[in-house]
Amino acid sequence: MISRILIYASLIVLAVIFLLPLWVLIITSLKDLDEIYAGGIMDLPQNPSLQAWARAWGTVCVGLNCTGLKAFYANTFMMAIPSVFLSTFFGAILGYILIKWRFKNSELVFGLILFGAFMPFQAILIPVSQTLSYMGVRDPVLSLIIIHTTYGIPFTTLFFRNYYVTFPDELVNAALIDGAGFFRIFFKILLPVSTPIIVVAVIFQFTGIWNDFLFGVSFASGKDVPVTVALNNIVNVTTGRKQYDLDMAAAVLAALPTLLVYIVAGKYFLRGLTAGSVKG
């Protein structure tokens, strides 16, 4: 009983510590500037108002574009959704090949693919930009899709490979005897039972790509930048007093989609992670 109490007490303390910044973020965004500058960071707002949120979403100027964050939301979604989809799909196919269509040195190939997961972002910036210009890709959204898809594949391949290790070979053999080919086995037999690991891959990729700053700032500019770069431009470019209410509201808005993904799919995320790690 006492150990129960201890466990709950320490969990609650830790949860409070972790949630405190978010709390400060939100209450500060609801205050007006005078109240913020008067101090009392933990005090509740006296006249709570969503005015800063409305400005952050709709009217704040980012560089020369006074359209608020909403336009940059669209940029990030346009880049993130295809990247998440493509990297998850290719990871699934690769994982399937590496486990169910083993070939000579397939483990070595897997090791090489995995090597990509340990490559630091900064190290590949220049090679990537050279490769993109060699390919003739100039569109910022397309550039970012190619980069994020490529960078995501090692991780998604690892997830799917480890998940498919537990999938019985006999099922693949049965489908082969039934006459099914490579893609039919993948789409009809394996993919329908891959939901947990698809959720893991999607969450992992979506948060990673949504939160990316370095590639966004390097390969896009002006009105094409993703929301993370736009947030940086709002916060770092101010005239007069620093607009803390606006900065806080913009920061929450920029983080909201990843937060929602975790809340909606978080339990699948945990389940999928453990399911994939049982074997392999």
Binding site: P168, I177, P192
Partner: protein
């Protein structure tokens, strides 16, 4: 339906040879059981027949044609797997129709075929369930149904009963046998269970170490095991094997025992008696049911009596399994229930025509060497 010819097939994984010079042949409608301990290569041989592994050398014929280089789907086979291998995301009906979908069988015909096997296997009420909602025996039936709708030349079964509990295993065994009698299909069946092999097969291939030890009808293999391995593998309890030495008359063998003194077994009715010389070390094989303690066991001249001390009595109901010691080995005799007591001397009858003799070094049956 077709014959199956396996001609000199060898399978190697890298430098490791797992099957060596496998040759056998079965006719249309036969039930071949590949039986042996785990790791003997029986499942590999089945995978070669299915086309799931490639053949290193030799020829494989299904029907009249060589199928070495055909992919599994073109061999006109169907397979039932040990784990049933039902597609988890599909209903029973979809599991059964999947192969027909792939082959482009018209929907109307599919529906008829599903109905047919559902009636045959009594799985009609399960058609809309998923595999996870089925019991082991039901899954087994669905797996068989999935194979049946194909109407293949050759059925392959890979240890289909080993995941079932003992009672269900016996029931399903009978069902498979009935199915074979009714449909008359050619079947290749892999198992490590010699009782399944004996009860189901029209031909058995006993395998060990990647080599066929003996190929023949169940009764032939039971009566005339080609070597000590087969003798000890087939039969439950298996054939008793113990060492002895041929006496100077060349017509009997002396067996040493710890408690009962030396026993002399008469070999005058033994088919292999021309193969032995006085003083030769041999291994003697006796099936448990070749012992008795109640006359008559056979014609008078064919029976010999010996006095032996009983070590243990294990009642099974219809018989008592009585354990005695001969030549340093535990020997099991199947006797009438409650006919003897442990730690006492009992006079046992031995059917002399049922003795098998093996070479002490090569362990081969002397009749066949």
């Amino acid at each position: 339906m077709a014959q199956l010819v396996i001609d000199n097939i060898t399978k190697a994984f890298g430098a490791v040879e797992v099957l060596t010079d496998i040759s056998l042949q079965i006719g249309d409608g036969e039930f071949l059981v590949l039986v042996g301990p785990s790791g003997c290569g029986k499942s590999t041989l089945l995978n070669l027949i299915a086309g799931l592994e490639s053949i290193t050398s030799g020829e494989l014929l299904i029907g009249e044609s060589v199928v070495n280089d055909l992919s599994p789907k073109n061999r006109d086979i169907a397979m039932v797997f040990q784990s049933y291998a039902l597609y988890p995301s599909m209903t029973v009906r979809q599991n059964i129709t999947f192969g027909m979908d792939v082959r482009g069988v018209p929907k109307v015909e599919q529906r008829e075929k599903v109905q047919e096997v559902a009636d045959l296997l009594q799985i009609g009420q399960l058609l809309n369930r998923r595999p996870a909602q089925l019991s082991g025996g039901q899954r087994q039936r669905v797996a068989i149904g999935r194979a049946l709708v194909r109407d293949p030349k050759l059925f392959l079964f890979d240890e289909p009963l080993s995941n079932l509990d003992a009672k269900l295993r016996v029931e399903m065994r009978t069902e498979i046998k009935q199915l074979h009698q009714r449909l008359g299909t050619t079947i290749v069946y892999v198992t490590h269970d010699q009782i399944e092999a004996m009860t189901l097969a029209t031909k058995i291939a006993v395998m060990n170490g990647g080599v066929i030890q003996q190929f023949g009808t169940p009764q032939d293999i039971y009566d005339n095991p080609t070597n000590v391995f087969v003798a000890e593998f087939i039969g439950s309890p298996p054939m008793n094997i113990f060492p002895g030495k041929v006496c100077s008359d060349g017509n009997s063998a002396e067996i040493q025992t710890k408690k009962s003194g030396n026993v002399v077994l008469e070999l005058d009715r033994c088919e292999a008696r021309d193969m032995i010389a006085p003083g030769q070390e041999i291994l003697v094989g006796v099936r448990p049911e070749a012992f008795s303690n109640q006359a008559p066991l056979g014609a008078e001249g064919n029976v010999q009596t010996v006095d032996l001390i009983i070590d243990v009595v294990e009642p099974t109901g219809p018989d008592d399994l009585v354990i005695i010691e001969l030549g340093g080995k535990e020997v099991v005799a199947r006797l009438e229930p409650q006919s003897c007591a442990p730690e006492t001397v009992s006079t046992l009858l031995i059917d002399k025509t049922k003795l098998a003799l093996f070479d002490a070094d090569t362990e081969r049956n002397l009749l066949q060497s």
